[in-house]
Amino acid sequence: MWNSLSIVLIMIGMVFFIAGTLGLLRFPDVYTRLHALTKADNVGLGFLVAGLMLQADSLTTALLLLLIWVLVMLAGAGAGQLVAQAALQRQHPVAKSQDDGRGHD
Amino acid sequence: MSTPLLYALAGVGLCLLGLYGLIVYAHLLRKILALNIMGSGVFLILVALARRSGDSPDPVPHAMVITGIVVAVSATALALVLLVRFSAATGRNQLDDDEHSP
């Protein structure tokens, strides 16, 4: 019972990851790509962590997994901010450019 | 093919890629990258073969590789400082005899 719920949660997480990755590959500029990556992956990781917590042996492990999610969200938010800021500073075009959108000249 | 063997052979591949990069590319930063990749290949050989001991892997190569990683980062740091100084002094990023191409 718990096992199947866990599998379902992980599967849902995977779907979000795939969506995020597709967005990273297909979206036209830095900002939309960041959007896809940070949002979708954070949710995806949340589901993944929830699924894995059900598999955990002890409460400590479960809490550690939760902590990992929180940390990744913090790091993702910070990194996303930085990339966006760098892109703005270097005036990367916002719209339908086919620029490959790294934050570097 | 067993898992240890697969990873050890991949280590050989990384070593040779690194060696190729070290010899062929002129930009010093690329040479430093190449040495790091070569180092990773050696570490992979060391650790992969430690997996042959059944249930629990042999910890000695693990410790050696951790030592190796710290030595590698020290060497890389030194190489990078040297590169910055060299670049500032000469305005170039490659050594003299590497000027075969633009």
Partner: protein, 317 residues
């Protein structure tokens, strides 16, 4: 049947990992843009960390992710921004003569053959280590090897790290004011707030890794590199060492790890024991003492290497 499926699945996973590693390494070297090459190298390090996990080497995985990919990557990126010209497009190459290819292919064949000729099963020193674990003062085999059985290697390795820092300082001109990096990056308040939360957390994680190393994967090097990462973040946020700390207190902090190691290693000889022969009763404590000092120094050293300049002893900036 199920076991065979898992086996096959895992082998496919291994194959995929190995191929990804080789491709990332190649792309990283051959990337037309050096920035891209470095980013790919960091990705390579992270995938390599996965490979370590697959090889049951979690300690190496932690060290690789933190030092190999993280800090080396950060060092490479700051260096790139300091170069006279960071453009190398297309990558300048020598013509690769046939001879080189012959050499590489031969080397690959010879090395591959040597590795394949090794026995499929080998214990190495796994049993010997296991039988002496009770006398090592710690419960985690890798920590026992690093800090006790082969502690002398680790002692010299701390000296190598110290050497890198001394060399970097002797090469880098002393910074008159450390404003160069401050101007390059204007930090938004959101990022600053995030970092304020992250830095204490990272210090906590470092302390945890240090403590857990006695009985599980972790230890001084992993903890030290997390500490260094905290230092790097602080530097990026524009934090600088206060002027009064930049003189001998900083130097003391940098040598503390090596000095403590040497002091303990030599002190245990007083009773006629050998170098690094800890008394059994206090072995655990002494190892923790060495590791704590080492963590602090490793963190400080790596962060200083990242900053790339000797902190000025002038008024605090």
């Amino acid at each position: 049947m199920g076991a065979a499926m898992t086996e096959a699945g895992l082998f496919l996973l291994d194959l995929l990992l190995v191929l990804t590693l080789l491709c990332l390494a190649w792309w990283s070297l051959a990337a037309t843009d050096l920035f891209k090459g470095i980013v790919l190298f960091i990705a390579f390090g992270l995938v390599l960390a996965l490979a370590w996990v697959r090889l049951d080497a979690p300690d190496v995985a932690l060290a690789e992710a933190a030092i190999g990919a993280g800090l080396t990557g950060a060092l490479l990126l700051t260096t790139l921004s300091k170069l006279a010209s960071s453009i190398d497009n297309p990558p300048a190459k020598r013509s690769s003569p046939v001879l080189l290819w012959v050499l590489l292919v031969m080397l690959a064949a010879v090395l591959g053959y040597a590795i394949m000729s090794l026995p499929q099963q080998a214990q190495g020193l796994a049993d010997t280590v296991a039988s002496q674990m009770g006398n090592s003062g710690v419960e985690h085999p890798v920590t026992a090897v690093l800090l006790n059985f082969r502690g002398y290697d680790t002692l010299l390795e701390m000296a190598v790290l110290l050497l890198a820092l001394i060399a970097a300082w002797s090469l880098a001109p002393r910074a008159a004011t450390s404003c160069e990096m401050d101007e390059a990056l204007t930090v938004s308040p959101i990022v600053l707030a995030l970092f304020r939360m992250l830095i204490p957390l990272m210090i906590l994680v470092a302390a945890y890794l240090l403590w857990v190393g006695a009985h599980a994967p972790g230890g001084a090097f992993q903890a030290g590199s997390v500490l260094a990462a905290a230092g790097v973040l602080a530097l990026l946020c524009g934090k600088r060492l206060e002027g009064r700390l930049a003189g001998w207190p900083l130097r003391l902090g940098l040598v503390l790890g090596t000095a403590m190691f040497v002091a303990v290693a030599a002190a245990v000889m007083v009773g006629g024991a050998h170098l690094l022969q800890y008394p059994l009763a206090s072995a655990g404590k002494l190892i923790l003492l060495i590791e704590a000092a080492a963590t602090f120094s490793i963190g400080l050293t790596l962060a200083m290497l990242f900053s790339g300049q000797r902190p000025s002893r002038g008024p605090a900036s």
